[in-house]
């Protein structure tokens, strides 16, 4: 009976939404219908507040991994609308991260920004330079406080904060982990419960694992090799940029050493394919047994889990001076130029979407890492980790997680690094020279922001 009423309610709700959207001159009817249904069905869930005008929010979101994610997001938004009858969130699927950024850019320039959106965490400086986003500190202070912010893993939060202000809230986040084929380990006499702990072991194990038709290890280097490279930089010392995003450290001796390791894996040790390795084919190679180990995003956990015909393990990335891995993925942003009521509503929505229980479910549904410590304390997550222990590896590695490379004029800076990395990988340049070139270019690009 309850489900019937619930279903009826959601139908009425969406009808109210439609009338609210389509005919601008009849918002009163829409809100009344919504409020009426709300008071009947969800008794006592703040229905009284809904008698006023309804606040409508436009929510842009991208989908970057496989699966019916739009359905899940739409479902979450609907749930939110149900719980908050005075607010109507309209989720708009906007394609890939790149498409979403482009659309938001166009909307911002056209003075009709969305109210709230999920974008790459690394778009922070770009959005700031466009003067498009709102700092969230006031909302945090009023609702949640430092308790809320500190619950997020610092490796995620680092991409949200600049100059002591918080501009975004982590949502769908990932990090890099090492996947390895336990059966291959056994086959060559390695302990399947002891993945490589450091760079030397990585080379050693990979050499052992290499045979005809199987590589020792694959590190994807197409598209955005800087992300993979960043993990090596982190392991060998420090991150690639300053926290304010105005300086980069590409040509340090440590980074040269890291890059030399990549070259050696392919050229000297011949345990990794030469040339650029396509991002999308690496998981397939791993599943096909064409490589015994791979560096890849946690976003592939579910895929590997569902498709591996062998026992596999997930581990921290091998360390040099320390463990280390950059984070990645998308955060919630709130946009300038929307009125206070909408801001409040948007914050409510962000809070709702990042609640521990929901973050846990989102992680289980998608394979993204849950962004909050408390999410791992929820029953559902505990249950999930129990049945699938490798899910905890990513969480534990977050202790060594750091901000993804993100600077002012981010597109150009990362391109400079990407091009240099690929030049080295394809044998066109020496690591030191290539990284020096990337550093010089990046300095030039960042010069206007250091005035």
């Amino acid at each position: 009976m309850r489900t019937v009423v619930k279903g009826l309610f959601s139908v009425l709700m969406s009808m109210a939404l439609i009338t609210g959207c389509s005919s601008g001159n009849a918002p009163a009817t829409g809100s009344q219908a919504g409020a009426g249904a709300g008071s009947e069905a969800a008794a006592g869930s703040g229905a009284g507040k809904a008698s006023g005008e309804k606040t409508e929010l436009t929510f842009f979101y991208p989908v970057a991994v496989g699966g019916p994610l739009t359905k899940i997001v739409d479902g979450m938004a609907e749930e939110f609308n149900k719980a908050n009858p005075d607010i109507a969130v309209k989720p708009v699927y906007t394609g890939s991260y790149q498409d979403t950024t482009t659309k938001i850019q166009a909307a911002v320039q056209g003075k009709t920004p969305p109210d709230v959106a999920v974008m790459l965490s690394t778009e922070l400086y770009t959005m700031l330079d466009m003067d498009a986003i709102l700092p969230l500190d006031d909302f945090i202070a009023k609702d949640g406080g430092s308790e809320y912010v500190n619950d997020f893993y610092p490796g995620f939060m680092a991409n949200s904060q600049v100059d002591g202000k918080t501009y975004s809230i982590p949502f769908q986040r990932s990090t890099i982990v090492l996947y390895y084929n336990k059966e291959a380990f056994k086959e060559v006499g390695l302990d399947p419960e002891k993945p490589p702990q450091n760079w030397d072991e990585l080379v050693e194990y990979a050499t052992k694992l290499k045979k005809d038709g199987r590589w020792g290890v694959e590190i994807p280097t197409s598209g955005f090799p800087y992300w993979m490279f960043q993990s090596f930089a982190l392991q060998n010392g420090k991150n690639l940029m300053t926290e304010d995003g105005k300086k980069v450290f590409f040509d340090t001796p440590e980074n040269v050493e890291a890059l030399q390791l990549w070259v050696d894996l392919a050229k000297k040790h011949q345990v990794m394919p030469e040339g650029v390795i396509e991002w999308a084919t690496v998981p397939s190679d791993f599943l096909e047994g064409k490589t015994a180990m791979m560096y890849h995003t946690t976003g592939n956990l579910t895929n590997v889990k569902n498709n591996a015909k062998f026992d596999f393990g997930v581990a921290f990335l091998p360390a040099k001076k320390t463990f280390g891995s950059p984070t990645g993925g998308g955060n919630f942003y709130m946009f300038k130029g929307i009125d206070e009521k909408k801001q409040e509503a948007a914050w409510k929505f962000i809070r709702f979407m990042t609640e521990p229980e929901r973050a846990a479910q989102w992680s289980i549904d998608t394979g993204y890492v849950a962004t909050r410590k408390s999410a791992y304390e929820t029953e559902s997550m505990k249950e999930y980790v129990k049945t699938f222990p490798v899910a905890a590896v990513a969480r534990d590695q977050l202790a060594y997680g750091h901000a993804e490379l993100s600077t002012h004029n981010n597109g150009k800076v990362t391109k400079a690094l990407n091009d240099s990395l690929q030049a080295v990988i394809t044998g066109q340049a020496e690591p030191a020279a290539a990284l020096k070139k990337a550093q010089e270019e990046a300095d030039k690009i960042l010069a206007p922001f250091n005035k």
């Binding site: 790149q98 950024t101 482009t102 850019q105 400086y125 770009t126 330079d129 466009m130 003067d131 038709g213 280097t221 197409s222 598209g223 394919p273 030469e274 040339g275 650029v276 390795i277 396509e278 999308a280 084919t281 397939s284 190679d285 096909e288 064409k290 002012h408 004029n409 597109g411 150009k412 391109k415 990407n418 091009d419 240099s420 690929q422 030049a423 990988i425 394809t426 044998g427 066109q428 206007p448 922001f449």
Partner: protein, 296 residues
């Protein structure tokens, strides 16, 4: 006199009215944006400058010093050089064959034309699989020759050949259609006359078919050349212009500059360069070669 003048005027008005709708669209969606682009190309409008400001020819100066710009430009020329003549020759050969084939004419034509119908994005995905090292279709074939592990898209020299080959595969069928139409326009009598004279097939092709297809060839040449500047969809899927810009092309670089670097001024300057190149090609056809090769 006055009446005649008025009648003339009315015909003029009528003509203009007929042209008006397309003219409005042309101005609104072609000329005006082009003009805006030209203007913007003299402004600094990037993330470092909150308000765009006039910076003279700085964008062009920086462009000329930009290694990537020269790289994508030379890439584009090689890409054109690699795709245009081969795909045209292949299109012609396919048209000749499809025209001759007695049995299964329809099938042959459809088979040849099929790659053209497939959207570039789908083509890119198909070929991404074909080019995959280890278990890609091409790798399996190459294994017979002992080169199974070729990394087609991950190698600086291979990647351009891989792109060129794919685009030829896609484009040749398109050009075949034009050549089929061109062949149909050549009178059968000419071939009969040649056969009465005892001309060999090669002579017939060299002395009759090919010269008479020159207008088609010219047209296809222009299409092919502009296409080599316009086709970049596959880069998004396959290489993102990598490795290290080895497969990057001008239009994709414009896209990167505009939507990844958010440098509107530079993107406009690059766009102007591209428009000028395409205009030059069109002008060569329009003013030069066009008149020399039409016989009828």
């Amino acid at each position: 006199m006055g009446l005649e003048h008025r009648a003339k005027w009315r015909i003029n008005i009528y003509a203009w009215l007929l042209l008006l709708p397309s003219l409005i669209f042309l101005v609104l969606f072609t000329f005006y944006p082009v003009l805006q682009t030209v203007i913007l190309s003299f402004y600094q409008a990037d993330l470092g400058s909150p308000e765009p400001f006039f910076n003279g020819g700085d964008n062009y100066r920086i462009m000329l010093e930009d290694d990537v710009f020269w790289k994508v430009l030379t890439n584009n020329l090689w890409f054109a050089l690699g795709t245009v003549p081969t795909s045209i020759a292949l299109g012609l050969a396919m048209a000749l064959f499809a025209n001759k084939a007695l049995r299964g004419k329809g099938f042959v034509r459809t088979a040849y034309f099929y790659p053209t119908v497939v959207p570039m994005i789908a083509v890119a995905n198909i070929w991404l699989f074909i080019y995959t090292p280890e278990y890609g279709a091409l790798s399996h074939v190459m294994e017979w020759f002992g080169h199974g592990g070729m990394n087609w898209l991950g190698d600086r020299t291979n990647v351009m050949f891989a792109m060129i080959f794919m685009v030829i595969w896609k484009e040749a069928g398109y050009f075949m259609i034009f050549y089929l139409a061109g062949l149909q326009n050549i009178s059968k009598e000419l071939y009969e006359s040649a056969s009465m004279d005892g001309a060999k097939p090669w002579t017939v092709f060299r002395r009759v078919t090919f010269p008479l297809l020159m207008p088609t060839t010219m047209f296809v040449l222009i299409i092919a050349f502009t296409n080599s500047f316009k086709l970049v969809d596959h880069l998004v899927i396959m290489t993102k212009g990598g490795p290290d810009n080895a497969s990057n092309l001008l239009l994709y670089y414009i896209y990167e500059t505009a939507f990844s670097f958010w440098d509107q001024g530079m993107a406009s300057a690059l766009t102007v360069v591209m428009v000028v190149i395409l205009l030059l090609v069109a002008a060569i056809q329009f003013f030069g070669l066009d008149k020399k090769i039409h016989y009828n």
